[in-house]
């Protein structure tokens, strides 16, 4: 049986134990219809030309996680943000781990999607936001919605600054032969509020795992969301990350995506504006080797005047790794005085590494400032020679230049301990110790 058929036929089993009269369930059933109709995207879809899921979906996966897998804290502690106190919502093979988590309902809600979906006190929030931010027609999102049950739920009420960052971590234990995970996160940040979130997906053992994740983020007036995606997984793990953000006036939503490891990663990051004077920031650093593949597909839809968006993605590719960047900026006729900037710079360290970069600007307003730039190049030999004449060995010189290249993305990381950690990860990846943090 094809995996698609399995997903559809297993739905009845999934429904057991769920309240079928619930409006959420109607949403799920509708989503399944969309997925059934559309199926997995193929290379014939324009948006998936450079990334093929075919090899992934030819395998079979377990879609119902076994419950009660326990992991010792000492085995996963290194994946947490050390030296910073955080809220934690931790899952193992898709199942919530109360032991590893640190949730709260004190002044803000950092808890489980399953709780939000079932408890009456969250009903209004769920009805207002669940599957309302996502583009419901996208087939992978529809697939996620149809099985949406667990994930992180965050609600920051008005005029509240979340004092601790929130870590959302999905571990896969490797106890299943092959695992297909579909976490669903909803984050609502009310007026004048602030939150910082770190999300990662991590396999603990080499085993095939595919995560098809959907995160919906609603940013109300004057609110600020600072979101970090750490993608540094094993080469047996693949991730399709679908993140949708709706922003209201005077809000700022920033997403940093660090793609440092994994088999296949696709980041669908979509921004929608519902007010003026919005700032949207999208940044990414991708460093790959082996046969890894990372595809960043971004959309910023400027549908209101006086808004600003900044996209800055850097990629460093060695061996046979592949990078894709597809950056879409849409500026509606009404969205005058839009400032939209996009930059995608890549370095290829080996002849066999490839990058496909495609800026896609569709501008219907006449009084706007939009720019895009894309470079694909090799390491600057002259600069390398300059560093080497100062006694810096070739390998360190290359690392230093790689750091320098990625630096303007790193420097906007607001959490010092996270910045240090990413610096360390990049240094380890490059096999050097530069002795300082940039």
């Amino acid at each position: 049986m094809e995996f698609k058929e399995k997903l559809i036929s297993s739905y009845l089993a999934f429904e057991e134990g769920l309240d079928l009269t619930d409006t959420v369930h109607e949403t799920r059933a509708n989503a399944l219809k969309i997925f059934e109709e559309k199926g997995f995207p193929t290379k014939r879809d324009e948006a998936w030309k450079c990334t093929s899921l075919e090899a992934l979906i030819q395998q079979d996966y377990s879609i119902f996680p076994k419950s009660e897998i326990s992991i010792e804290l000492k085995d996963v502690k290194k994946y947490f943000l050390y030296d910073t106190d955080t809220y934690k919502v931790i899952f193992i093979d898709g199942v919530y781990s109360p032991f590893l988590s640190n949730t709260t309902h004190d002044g803000l809600d950092v808890c489980l999607m399953s709780a939000a979906l079932s408890k009456p006190k969250y009903r209004k929030l769920i009805n207002t936001y669940f599957n309302k931010i996502a583009v419901a027609e996208e087939s992978l999102t529809a697939l996620n919605t149809s099985y949406a049950k667990e994930g992180a739920f965050v609600y920051i009420p008005k005029k509240t600054v979340a004092e601790k960052p929130i870590e959302i971590i999905h571990f896969s234990s490797g106890d299943e032969a092959a695992l297909w995970l579909q976490p669903r996160n909803l984050i609502v940040v009310d007026e004048n509020s602030q939150v910082q979130i770190i999300e990662r997906h991590q396999s603990l053992k080499e085993h095939p795992v595919v995560t098809n994740s959907v995160t919906e983020i609603y940013v109300h007036k004057e609110a600020y969301v600072d979101y970090y995606k750490l993608q540094n997984d094993l080469t047996t793990a693949s991730l399709i990350d679908n993140t949708y953000i709706v922003q209201e006036e005077n809000s700022h939503a920033s997403v940093h995506t660090f793609s440092l490891g994994g088999k296949l990663i696709r980041n669908n990051l979509r921004y929608f504006h519902k007010g003026e004077r919005i700032l949207s920031t999208l940044k990414g650093v991708t460093i790959l080797e082996g046969k890894q593949h990372v595809d960043h597909s971004t959309l910023v839809h400027h549908s209101q005047p006086n808004c600003e968006s900044h996209q800055d993605y850097k990629g460093i590719f060695s061996e046979r790794s592949e990078g894709v960047f597809n950056g879409q900026i849409l500026v509606d006729k009404i969205a005058q005085k839009t400032n939209a900037f996009q930059q995608n710079n890549n370095i290829l360290l080996d002849d066999k590494a490839t990058v496909n970069s495609k800026p896609q600007l569709e501008i219907f307003a006449d009084d706007v400032k939009c720019s895009h730039g894309c470079t694909i190049g090799q390491m600057d030999e002259e600069a390398l020679f300059y560093l080497r004449t100062r006694g810096i060995p070739k390998k360190e010189a290359k690392a230093l230049m790689t750091y320098a290249f990625a630096n303007n993305v790193l420097e906007s990381v607001q959490l010092p301990s996270l910045k240090k950690r990413i610096n360390g990860q990049i240094a380890r990846k490059l096999g050097v110790n530069l002795g300082f943090d940039l």
Partner: protein
């Protein structure tokens, strides 16, 4: 210090250096002058170990060590320093972090521990003062947005920090106004001593009023066609390079 014997070098199959002999002793300052395209910058690149150039004949020895098989960084560890005519901009790396990395890389090559931060900072302050460099300048990205004068001053600052045995200054005077030229020359003069040597590569005699050479060589078409003392530089200034071409 530096001995060059019958050096021939080419780039992309084109011969640039066609038999250079040069002997620089510790404590000496040599100037290499010549018209554009005579091979001055090639000579400095070849000595520093630029892999774009291929040495086809001859030898370069530093303190008796044959440099033929050594990479640029290994030559630096032996004590060669090249001040670039066009220093490369490296956004994202501050001057201080760059110098720290360079110093510790050189120490590591000598089997020494990293320089303690306090010693390093003291040294940075001392050398920055010598070259009239503002401390704000040290936290800027290396050469990024620097004026011509700032770039050259930064080169000499690096030289001061690294304390090389042999400093090659490639067109250090280009792009400098007279005040900057004096500061740079003054820096070089303070750094030179009986144990190190300086090779100044320049088109014009101007810099040699401030860094006074013991010997002047004239390079033309890949060969040294005339050598002399500092008076030769004045002669070149007065007569231009045309008469040199007849010597070749």
């Amino acid at each position: 210090m530096l001995t060059i014997e019958n050096l021939h070098a080419q780039v992309e199959g084109k011969a640039i250096l066609k038999g250079i002999d040069l002997d620089v002793k510790a404590g000496e300052v040599h100037a290499i002058m010549g018209p554009n395209g005579s091979g001055k910058s090639t000579l400095s690149s070849v000595v520093a170990g630029n892999e774009d150039y291929e040495v086809t004949q001859g030898k370069i020895l530093l303190k008796g060590n044959d440099l033929a098989e050594l990479d640029a960084e290994e030559r630096a560890h032996l004590g060669i320093f090249l001040s670039f005519q066009y220093p490369v901009e490296i956004p994202g790396v501050t001057v201080t972090n760059f110098i720290k990395t360079a110093i510790n890389a050189n120490r590591k090559a000598k089997g020494l521990e990293d320089m303690p931060a306090s010693t390093l900072l003291k040294k940075i302050r001392e050398k920055a003062k010598l070259l009239d460099i503002d401390s704000k300048f040290l936290s800027r990205s290396l050469n990024e947005g620097f004026s011509g004068g700032e770039k050259k001053r930064n080169e000499i600052f690096q030289m001061a920090m690294l304390e090389p045995s042999l400093a090659i200054l490639d067109e250090t005077d280009s792009g400098l106004d007279i005040d900057a030229l004096k500061i740079v020359a003054n820096g070089v003069n303070k750094l030179k001593g009986k144990d190190n040597a300086v090779v100044v590569i320049t088109h014009y005699q101007r810099l040699l009023d401030y860094i006074v050479p013991d010997f002047v060589h004239v390079l033309f078409d890949g060969k040294i066609v005339k050598s002399g003392t500092k008076e030769l530089a004045h002669e070149l200034e007065a007569k231009g390079y045309d008469w040199i071409k007849e010597l070749a």
